[in-house]
Symmetry: C2
Subunit: 451 residues, 2 copies
């Protein structure tokens, strides 16, 4: 199962988030008041740490709404494409990935923004394509309820088709800049999409020339059936959440097979399970850190959060009992389907009480938490990598910046000793970091593509 | 008429655009291939020149579509909010203004982006509110035709009302960050708009805390009746185009009166007519530069552009004759009304042939072109300023970067000698540059506002 891996090319993404992925991280003594999603100096500093570590990319998740219990943890994040742009100016090589919604954007504007970031960053842009779950967000956009899950995914697929047409609408050599003749561009090499589909009609060419990467790296993170199908067709990197090696292997095999079935190369998609590492110089120290964090969780708040995920009332979830036996199937859930299933499976498999489940979720919202020494963290990454469960990992530090600094200073050297991770960037674009080719323009002639 | 002006506070905005405002500027020998709207290094350099000159602000116009004859001059511009963000990282004080459309954006997303830029730039964001004319652009957003002019303006007014609610949705002191109690924000100080209107329903609070300026500076540039009414209600700076002092004085008086009638202070809106300065060390040198540029215009191309503005076929505009006598009234024009009127009035007043009109428009698209020495340029600015036609000016160099460098090095020192322009920035925010107060939050109590 290791044939897909090229030595030295384990891919690492740093998933950045205010004071860290543990919901109580902002309450740690070392967390400053600046550790929020709206302090650009803090976010820039995190990106610079990740770049010093030679991570492939950084990533910001997003939803266009204020969700959850705002009073209880740092909330309110700057528009992530504005954040990526600000970070582009303060970094040189690291890839820049952010979430944007296909449900609450128009293809013309969003395709243009990502093309613009790819230009500004000299080829480092990546887009995590999401359909955005949640009725609260729908109500920020004139809708009474969120569109159905299948509807959102059908729209996402068409959105991507339109965006791809827009990104190809200028051939790479469309600009000729012939001053003497007064011809700036060869208009025969600019191709208006004239797209008319079920969800979108988009007539004109993009008003940005083709970007350094041709188009941004396409990332996907939904693990529902619809999500996996979308990933198989379009995604070049996939962020995913698994609690066990077996689950991750199964997902990996399934998604690679779907990708091949969609007519693509299995290597064309890089699969990165998430991990929340809690690192100590001894295992006991790491566990003590984990405990310190979990003890800062306010159970009533976390209970409300969990109730929201499970579509229950908080009073249906007594803290010291297991989950109710009769929960709905994933099929009945309209939004965040795979997250729902993951939480329910985790609770059932380990027979966790609500209080125990809250502790496990507080650290990584369903992602795998792992507390250990740098060697132990490197061991588990290598185990998953060698066992065909991952092409790399989505690193989600429990506390920021400290957890990212620890990973960079202590875990990365171990991975490098083992020949599993780069010492220096070899390329300059995000696609190059992930070992992916620049896509040819659909309108280019065969000679141009070969050239 | 000079009572509205405070000494030292003539406001200057640098309107930046690829190789310059003259349509043939890209063909000048000194224009490099990088002088486009998609080369961030070029745009950043322009902004840095303007900041060295202590301009109040820079500005990028925009439309979400590829318009005009792409082959004939540099076309395709990066998303201007991405450009502003990149420039924010490379400058310290200068204000950052860009156009965004109320017709082709949703209030939640756009309000968030401007709040984000205001955070990232520490209070330097400004939004030029436009309703976006043109059927070509409508077709990029699923519409067969553009919405009617009055409809677009009604939507714009509601869009602004929603945006203002969103920008006030967090009180300034909403974040308490009380680690011991586990209370990050006082949710009583976060106010979901729950807006339900004719064009928009927006339920939730913004997911960004209130920004340094409270909200971005609101700029407006439409001079139709609807445009002036919108400006009177909301605008804090107005960009406008006039060929004669008399027209500019009339506009100035009218807009200040409308602003007062709307219940606002006349000083609350700063009026900046555009000027395309062509600067030479002698008048003859300036005129020679102007001629050099005009001779680079390709008449057939310009004829097509003019025909588009006038809703005629190119063959209805023979180059060496005046405009046809029977043109439609402004009332019949659905979009870019004030620009239409300006072009027709200019041609009629000066009895210009189509070829002569093309020369005049090639320089500034209807804005006033002025060729002269630095003293002569300073004289005309002072004349308009003293005569109650302007609170400042929108400087639109014919060629970039050269025209901006000349203005900064040669005209600004003359204005400074006369006590008309600042030597150093006094404030740090765009509002401070324009002498405008930070708006109080509508939810703040009286004590807080007074504090």
């Amino acid at each position: 199962m290791t044939t897909n891996h090229r030595p030295g090319h384990l891919n690492l993404n740093a998933f950045l988030m205010s004071s860290g992925h543990h919901e109580a991280s902002w309450r740690l003594p070392q967390s400053g008041p600046d550790a929020t999603g709206h302090d650009i100096a803090h976010l820039r500093r995190l990106a610079q740490i990740a770049e010093r570590g030679r991570f492939d990319s950084i990533f910001f998740a997003d939803g266009p709404g204020l969700q959850g219990d705002v009073g209880r943890r740092p909330s309110g994040t700057l528009d992530p494409l504005i954040v990526l742009t600000a970070i582009a100016a303060a970094t040189e090589r690291i890839g820049l990935v952010a979430t944007a919604s296909t449900t609450y954007n128009s293809p013309y504007n969003l395709a243009r923004r990502f093309a613009s970031i790819d230009h500004v960053s000299a080829g480092r842009a990546g887009w995590n394509v999401v359909t955005t779950a949640g009725p609260d967000i729908a109500r920020n956009f004139g809708l009474d309820a969120q569109p159905a899950h299948a509807e959102r995914y059908a729209r996402a697929a068409e959105f991507l088709e339109v965006a791809f047409k827009l990104w190809d609408s200028w051939e790479d050599d469309a600009v000729v800049a012939d001053k003497a003749a007064g011809i700036w561009a060869d208009s025969a090499k600019i191709h208006p999409p004239e797209h008319v589909g079920r969800y979108f009609s988009v007539a004109g060419a993009l008003n940005v020339p083709r970007s350094p990467q041709g188009r941004p790296l396409i990332v996907q993170a939904g693990s529902s059936q619809d999500g996996k199908d979308l990933a198989a067709r379009y995604a070049e990197a996939v962020f995913t959440a698994h609690q066990t090696l077996g689950d991750a292997q199964e997902f990996y095999r399934d998604l690679k097979a779907r990708t091949v079935a969609a007519g693509r190369d299995a290597d064309g998609v890089r699969i990165l399970p998430g991990i929340v590492p809690v690192i100590g110089s001894t295992e006991a120290e790491a566990r003590a850190q984990e405990r310190e964090l979990d003890e800062l969780i306010l159970p009533q708040y976390a209970q409300r959060q969990l109730a929201r995920t499970l579509r229950l009332a908080p009073e249906d979830l007594p803290l010291d009992r297991e989950l109710p036996a009769d929960l709905p199937d994933e099929d009945e859930i309209e939004g965040a389907k795979s997250r729902y299933t993951l939480v329910v499976r985790l609770a059932r498999r380990e027979r966790l009480t609500v209080r125990e489940l809250i502790g496990r979720l507080g650290g990584g919202r369903g992602h795998r938490t792992f507390a250990g020494t740098p060697e132990q963290v490197a061991d588990t990454l290598q185990e998953w990598y060698d066992a065909g469960a991952a092409d790399g990992f989505n690193i989600m530090p429990a506390a920021l910046p400290s957890g990212l600094e620890q990973f960079t200073e202590h875990v990365l050297p171990v991975l490098r000793e083992r020949g599993l991770f780069r010492t220096e960037y070899e390329g300059t674009t995000l696609r190059e970091h992930y070992g992916l080719a620049r896509p040819a323009n659909r309108y280019a002639t065969a000679e141009q593509v070969g050239a």
